[in-house]
Symmetry: C2
Subunit: 288 residues, 2 copies
C-alpha cells in the first residue's frame, strides 16, 4: 500500500474508534467532515517518510503516529476557523465545520479530534517503550508552551514575536511529524527536529505567500485574510519577491538538514516536490 | 502530605510544564485561572482514594493521573461555559475564562488543558506498562464515543437519551477517575468502573438538584440554568422530592459497589461525606 493509502486507512481506523455504540451521530459526522476528504496530508507523509528513512520494522506505530499528527492538524483547523478566530466560511473547498454543523459541534469536534490523536497512538499493540515518548512528542507539538495552541495564542497577545509565532503555530507540528516518525520506527530522534522545524518555517512562509498571491479557487479557502485581519505575515515584512527568495533558501536548508539515513533520497524528493506544489501558480509561471 | 495537598502539587507541576520559555503569557494565565483556586476536586480525590485502597506502591503516577482527570474536568468547564454553549458569566465564584480573557483564549485554554492531561501522565518516570493503559482510560473518558465531549454533544442532537447523556457527560470522568486510580496503582481495573459510573450518576443528579434548589451564592455559579435553557434534567422528570430519593438510592448503590480492597472504609467515608456536601442547604435543613 502506498503512503497516502496507509495514511487514509489509519485515519479511518482512528475515526472508527470514535464511533462505538452510543456515540452522538452528528458529532461523529462533524469529525469526519473535518478529516475527509483528504487535504495534502503533508505532515503525515513527512512522518512516514522519516519512519521509512529510519528503517521502520513495523507499520502499525508509524501509521498511528502519522494519523495522530493529521488529526491534530485537522483539530487546529476546525478551531482556527471558528467565528472568534478567522471566521472562515470554507475549508478545503467546502463549508468549514462550524458553518456545516454549528459552532458548538465545531468546538467539540476539535476537542474530540485532539483526544483521538492520543488514543490512536496508545491503542497500538506494540512496545509501550515507544508509545510513551511518542505521546510526549505529540503532546508538546500541540500544547503549551510552544505547540500549535501556543502559536494560535500569540494572535491574542499584545506583543507577538513573529518567529516564535510561526515556529509554534506551524513548525511545532512539522517538527513533531519528523521526530515522531523516527521514534515510532524505534530510531533516535536526533537531528530530525531541526529538519522538521525548517520545513515548518518553509511551509508557513509558503502559506503566507499563497494567501497573498493565490485566489480562493486555487487553494480552496479564502485568500488575502492576513492583510484583511492585520495578522503578522512574512509577506507584509518582505514583500512577494523577498518572500519567494526566503522560501527557496529555507527549502535548500531543509534538504541540507536531513540526518544521515538509508533512504535520504526519497526525503529529498518529497521536500523538492512539496516546494513546487506550494508555490502559487502565477509566481511559478513567472519563475518558469 | 494529605490528599488535597498532593492534588494541588500535581496540578501546579502540570501547569509548570506548560510555562516554559516562549510560552504566550496570557494563555498561561487563562489556564491557571481555569484550574485555580481549587474546586471540590472530587474526581481526583476519588482517583487517589482508589489508588490508596488498591495499595499503591508509589505516589507519582496516581498523582499525575489525578491531576490529568482534574485538568480534563477544568477543560470541559471552560468549553461548556463558552457563549455557544452555556454562556456562563461566572464559575467557582469568579468570572468564567471567556469573560476574563476573551473567547479565543478560552477555546485555546481548554485545548491546552486537554493536551496537558496526556502530557502530565506520559512524563512520569515510571513503568510505561502502566502509562499506556492509563492513557487509554483517560482518552476514552473525555473523547468519543462516550466521554465528556460526547456527552456535551448530546445537547446538540435532535433526540437525546437522558441516561446516555448523563453517563457520558459526567459518569465517564468519574468512571475514569476510579479506574485510573486502580491502573496507576498497578492493580486490576475490575469492579472500579461500576463504582465510578454510579458515583458519576449520583453526582449529576446532585448537580441537577443544586441547579434547581440552590442559589448562586451557595454554589458559586448561576442556578436554574437547566430550566432556563430547556436542557434535559432529572429534576424536570422526577420533581425535587423524587430526585432526592433517587440520589439517596444511588449513593447507597455506590457504597455497595466498592470492590473488595484493603482500605474500603476510607472510600465509604469519602462517598458519604460527598453526598452530604452536595445536598442543597435548604433540602439538607428540611431533611434534618
Amino acid at each position: 500500500m502506498d503512503t497516502v493509502g496507509r495514511i487514509e486507512r489509519a485515519l479511518h481506523a482512528a475515526l472508527d474508534l470514535a464511533e462505538g455504540t452510543g456515540s452522538p451521530p452528528r458529532l461523529a459526522e462533524a469529525m469526519r467532515h473535518a478529516v475527509f476528504p483528504q487535504g495534502a496530508r503533508v505532515r503525515p507523509r513527512l512522518c512516514l517518510a522519516v519512519a521509512g528513512a529510519c528503517g521502520s520494522d513495523d507499520q502499525a506505530l508509524p501509521d498511528a503516529a502519522a494519523a495522530a499528527i493529521e488529526l491534530l492538524h485537522c483539530a487546529s483547523l476546525v478551531h482556527d476557523d471558528l467565528p472568534c478566530f478567522d471566521d472562515a466560511a470554507t475549508r478545503r473547498g467546502k463549508p468549514s465545520v462550524h458553518r456545516a454543523f454549528g459552532e458548538p459541534l465545531a468546538v467539540l469536534a476539535g476537542d474530540a479530534l485532539i483526544v483521538l490523536a492520543f488514543q490512536a497512538v496508545a491503542q497500538v499493540a506494540c512496545a509501550p517503550q515507544r508509545i510513551v515518548p511518542l505521546t510526549l512528542v505529540i503532546a508538546r507539538s500541540v500544547g503549551m508552551p510552544a505547540g500549535i495552541v501556543a502559536g494560535q495564542a500569540w494572535e491574542c497577545e499584545p506583543k507577538a514575536d513573529l518567529r516564535e509565532y510561526h515556529r509554534a503555530k506551524t513548525g511545532s507540528l512539522f517538527s513533531a511529524a519528523a521526530v515522531a516518525g523516527a521514534v515510532a520506527a524505534g530510531a533516535s530522534p536526533d537531528g530530525w527536529r531541526q529538519l522538521g522545524e525548517t520545513l515548518g518555517e518553509a511551509y508557513q512562509v509558503a502559506d503566507d505567500l499563497r494567501d497573498a498571491a493565490s485566489d480562493e479557487d486555487e487553494i480552496g479557502k479564502p485568500t488575502a485574510r492576513d492583510a484583511a485581519l492585520g495578522r503578522p505575515s512574512v509577506v507584509a515584512a518582505l514583500g512577494i519577491p523577498g518572500t519567494v527568495a526566503h522560501l527557496e533558501r529555507l527549502v535548500a536548508r531543509a534538504i541540507d538538514a536531513i540526518p544521515p539515513c538509508a533512504r535520504a533520497d526519497e526525503l529529498r524528493a518529497l521536500i523538492a516536490s512539496e516546494a513546487r506544489r506550494l508555490m502559487p501558480r502565477r509566481l511559478a509561471r513567472s519563475a518558469a
